[in-house]
């Protein structure tokens, strides 16, 4: 009995310790932001590997998610003779939920895991210690640009996802299933509110970007410096990010849409 309690306590203490450490790391990362502004080239390099290299998977997924939404929505809405609301349905579900959430999940899988593996390997091959030896703070030099790049890239990727999703849905709904083109756009503009739907979606993607990159950077920096440790850290990044995104999405939705 005491054994079980002790295990529970140990697990809890470890979780709190990780939380504290990741918070301290976040503060150190944020402290380095002013220095990053003096060297924007570092940020551009990271934006390339975090943002540009993720565009392809985001664009293709967005297009297909929009197309599937339109197809499924049409089957259901046509039973109620409400095909005219198809555009509203596709746009609202993309802007409010699927855009930010699916982008964040893909972002964690594609960019977050790469960040963790890169930083973890830098630690395992003692490149981070090497930087420290040369009196360069590895947090400011390595982590800050990656964190800021992820934070910037995520909302941009989510916007691309939603826009391509709407276009994919339009292609299927208007192009293949014969919903009227004018109805599609007019109903959409009448029902989708820029403040209620669009801004809240962008806020969601900002939060998700912040959390996903934070988790990725922390797991990399905190990994056990062996090949097994780096692989475990990479797995944890994807699992923790996905759970954090889905959990936060529920909280944000409950707060935003009344």
């Amino acid at each position: 009995m005491t054994e079980v309690l002790a295990r529970l306590g140990a697990g809890w203490i470890l979780a709190v310790r990780h939380l504290g450490r990741s918070l301290l790391l976040l503060l150190r990362i944020l402290e380095g932001v002013d220095e990053l502004l003096l060297r924007p080239r570092l940020l551009v390099e990271q934006l390339f590997s975090v943002g540009v290299l993720t565009v392809l998977i985001i664009a293709v997924s967005g297009l297909f998610v929009g197309m599937v939404l339109s197809l499924q929505g049409y089957y259901i809405l046509s039973q109620f003779a409400a095909e005219s609301a198809l555009g509203v349905m596709v746009a609202a579900s993309l802007l409010r939920e699927l855009g930010p959430v699916v982008t964040a999940l893909l972002f964690a899988g594609r960019a977050g895991s790469a960040l963790t593996a890169e930083i973890g390997l830098m630690k395992a091959t003692e490149q981070l210690s090497g930087l420290e030896m040369m009196a360069v703070d590895p947090v400011r030099r390595v982590l800050t640009p990656r964190f800021v790049a992820g934070f910037i890239a995520m909302p941009l990727l989510a916007a691309l996802f939603s826009a391509l999703g709407v276009l994919g849905g339009w292609f299927v709904g208007v192009g293949l299933l014969g919903v009227d083109d004018g109805t599609w756009w007019v109903q959409m503009q009448a029902r989708i509110d820029w403040n209620e739907d669009l801004s809240n979606g962008v806020i969601k993607s900002l939060v998700f970007g912040f959390v996903c990159t934070w988790i990725a950077v922390f797991q990399g920096y905190n990994s056990v410096p062996t090949s097994a440790g780096v692989s475990r850290a990479t797995t944890r990044t994807v699992v923790h990010s996905s759970l954090a995104v889905l959990g936060l999405d529920f909280v944000l939705t409950a707060l935003m849409f009344k």
Partner: protein, 156 residues
């Protein structure tokens, strides 16, 4: 590793494409492109019953949207709903004896305010009041009247 020039160009293209997507979402998908809140004037209309009319519901004339419902209040002295309508300023020739009624779009659709023009030579302007109004149709009341009428018929 690509040369840094290529990297810069690709990052620039990425940011530009994403901003373009955001612009597309704002102007084409949401109502930001069709919104002109600054260019409106407000008129007041009192209704006995507004049904389920909501703020931001359209105000139409001959089916064309000429404004939006900007606020809904309640007058405690006259027990009436006070609906403020924000009319787009370009529609400055709506007679001041215009008739306002609350209509329903479709069988289950949302409710909106419909305006029927009167014949006056003076026009609605900021702060003027629409005197003649017709309440929303409430389904229970309509059915109640129908049953009441039926019962009366049978008595005679």
């Amino acid at each position: 590793m690509k040369t840094s020039k290529t990297v810069e160009i690709l990052v620039g293209a990425f940011v530009a494409a994403a901003l373009l997507a955001l612009f597309f979402l704002a102007m084409k998908v949401s109502n930001l492109g069709t919104l002109d809140t600054s260019d409106t004037f407000e008129v007041v209309a009192r209704f006995d019953n507004i049904g389920s009319l909501k703020v931001k519901a359209p105000v139409t004339m001959a089916g064309v949207e000429v404004g939006r419902v900007s606020s809904i209040g309640f007058d405690q002295e006259r027990y009436q709903a006070v609906v403020k309508l924000a009319i787009y300023r370009r529609f400055d020739r709506i007679p001041d004896d215009t008739f306002a009624k609350i209509l329903t779009a479709g069988l289950l659709g949302e409710q909106y305010v419909g305006l029927d023009p009167g014949g006056s030579d003076t026009f609605l302007e900021e702060g003027s009041e629409i005197e003649i109004t017709q309440s929303a149709m409430v389904l229970e009341e309509v059915i109640g009247q129908f049953i009441f009428g039926k019962a009366k018929e049978e008595k005679q």
